[in-house]
């Protein structure tokens, strides 16, 4: 029976079995559990079960001062830690009306974009691993190590940087960083062409990705999916363009989007985004202004005015929004972390109807999920 007949078949006639793409499985890259009701190799119904790595970030935010919550922000989605800290810091600055000096804004843009490229490189390696190709993972990690060296030189950490502060960044960027970034941009461009030649144009990869699991723009909107998922379905939605923050309006970059909406479109969006991030970094490093990196009048004990404040950023996986409800105390009353992976995964159930197991794994990889990002 083809999957459509299976789904149409009345309840009694189907002999389906439940397969657990369990909490520990190479394809889930973390502890996501997919309860797949399957007929043979076709998926009749997929039900994601989350919560296996729930780490109570929102509960912790309610008994920590704003500054104490900063390390948590880079452990929600540890692959784009910079952009997540940027959102929390931005929300507090927006509420407390703190002015960030231009040099700090530029440094934030450079480090966020470097973090986006390193996150896309991890995605590229892990995605090819899901499709059975082992070698690209090592090449992608090799390039990523160069970014980690740059960021480690400035922030001291490889993965969970806690680099931004309210009103700027904690220490200035030295000449080695700017020179290293320029060298990295020059090094990375031919590498992207190599990935296009070796991986993107590989006939087996194209057969595995083209036309698999198409997702319409309407489905993305209904489920609130953002980032490369909605850009792969033809909608050029990018928070850096829609709600310009930090210094992004001053840079010229394009928002790549592909109308097909299949796994290949989402793949190409991320590959193209790496090239765009390189452009942003190049412009930002060239026009890096001089001056202080920390705002001067930052109160020791930060009290936000009562009411709500929201701040959204374009993280590697999509729109990350921090919504702080404060009651004029130094501890926030409620902090809501709107994470992109949760919304991106929520459309998996609808998009994976009738897929074969390998295609479901390809779809799961194309959504680029970080499981602690879902469970928070």
């Amino acid at each position: 029976m083809s999957p459509s007949e299976v789904i149409a078949a009345p309840e009694g006639q189907r002999e389906t079995f439940v397969l657990n793409l369990g909490p520990q499985h190479p394809a889930t890259h973390g502890v996501l559990r997919l309860k797949l009701t399957m007929d043979g190799e076709f998926i009749v119904r997929a039900e994601p079960v989350c919560g296996y790595i729930h780490r109570m970030h929102e509960k912790m935010a309610e008994n920590r001062s704003y500054a104490q919550f900063l390390p948590n922000t880079s452990r929600i989605d540890y692959l784009s830690a910079m952009t997540y800290t940027h959102a929390f810091v931005g929300a507090v600055e927006r509420a407390a009306k703190l002015e960030v000096p231009p040099r700090a804004e530029f440094i934030r843009v450079i480090t966020s974009e470097l973090n986006r490229i390193s996150s896309h490189l991890v995605w590229l390696g892990a995605y090819l691993l899901d499709l059975g190709g082992f070698t690209p993972l090592l090449y992608a990690f090799d390039d990523r190590e160069k970014i980690l060296d740059l960021l480690e030189g400035v922030t001291g950490a490889r993965l969970t940087y806690c680099y931004y502060r309210f009103g700027g960044v904690c220490n200035d960027v030295d000449e080695a960083f700017t020179r290293g970034t320029k060298e990295f941009v020059a090094y990375m461009r031919p590498r992207l062409d190599m990935y296009r030649a070796l991986v993107t144009d590989n006939i087996i990869l194209r057969k595995r990705l083209v036309g698999i699991a198409p997702i319409s723009a309407e489905t993305c909107r209904k489920y609130g999916a953002t980032g490369p998922v909605i850009r792969g379905s033809g909608v050029a939605y990018d928070v850096r363009r829609r709600e310009p923050y930090s210094a992004y309006p001053l840079f010229d970059f394009e928002v790549p989007n592909f109308p097909e909406g299949d796994c290949m479109a989402r793949y190409l969006v991320r590959m193209e985004e790496m090239a765009q991030s390189l452009r942003i970094i190049e412009q930002a490093v060239d026009r890096l202004p001089e001056g202080p990196v920390m705002a001067t009048a930052v109160p020791r004990v930060l009290k936000l005015p009562a009411g709500d404040v929201a701040y959204a950023v374009e993280a590697a996986r999509g729109r990350f929004m921090v919504h702080i409800v404060s009651d004029n105390k130094e501890i926030p009353y409620r902090v809501k972390l709107r994470t992109p992976s949760l919304s991106n995964l929520s459309l998996f159930e609808e998009a994976s109807q009738g897929l074969v197991l390998p295609d479901a794994v390809a779809l799961l990889g194309s959504l680029d999920l970080v499981i602690p990002d879902i469970d928070r």
Partner: protein, 195 residues
């Protein structure tokens, strides 16, 4: 590939200061207060007109959907609507019809006032407008209708708000705990939650 050409940045780095535009249409304008930013006027007008037609359609008198414009620079959203619990689905349908997408559902436990608050954030894939819909429910028996029929994405947000704060969503297809273990009966994010 048709890269979206960089729009003219009509906004400088800091969002432009709100300047009071003309008041909305004459009739029973539900939207009190001027729209904050000029480029949202077309959308706000649509909202008003949408609300007016809804308003006209249903026979309820009180302005259940009192929306007011907010200064984006200090709040991060443009329009804020305070809604009675039973009008939540109406607000969601309105948002859906004008192309919005559900951002997230936040539950806040106002222990002192004996109330719980639901914040529905909406963003729009094509336009920069951000809308926040507020809804207050009594803390004793927190109930709210589900909007998962309109936005399937809300299914998980509602399950999560239910398990963390105990707000029941009527009509929700599967209101079991989402992040906590299946048999969890405690609501950790309530202010009076003792471990």
């Amino acid at each position: 590939m048709n890269p979206d050409s960089p729009q003219a940045h009509e906004e400088s780095a800091a969002a432009s200061a709100g300047q009071p535009g003309g008041n909305g249409a004459s009739g029973p304008s539900v939207l009190v207060g001027p729209p904050a930013l000029d480029q949202h006027t077309p959308l706000l007008a649509l909202l008003e007109q949408g609300l007016a037609s809804e308003q006209g359609g249903s026979s309820v008198e009180a302005p259940a959907l009192a929306g007011k414009a907010v200064d984006f620079a200090s709040r991060g959203y443009h329009v804020e609507m305070t809604v009675a619990p039973e009008r939540v689905v109406l607000a969601a349908q309105l948002m859906d019809s004008s192309g919005f997408a559900l951002d997230t559902i936040t539950g806040v436990d106002w222990l002192a006032e004996g109330q719980m608050e639901l914040l529905y954030d909406y963003f729009h894939p094509e336009s920069p407008t951000r809308v926040l819909v507020r809804c207050r429910v009594p803390r004793a028996a927190p109930e709210a209708p589900t909007i998962s029929a309109v936005f399937p994405g809300a299914n998980w947000h509602e399950r999560e708000t239910h398990e963390f704060l105990g707000i029941r969503f009527q009509g929700h297809p599967n209101l079991t705990p989402f992040l906590l273990p299946e048999d969890a009966d405690y609501h950790p994010l309530r202010k009076d939650y003792a471990a």
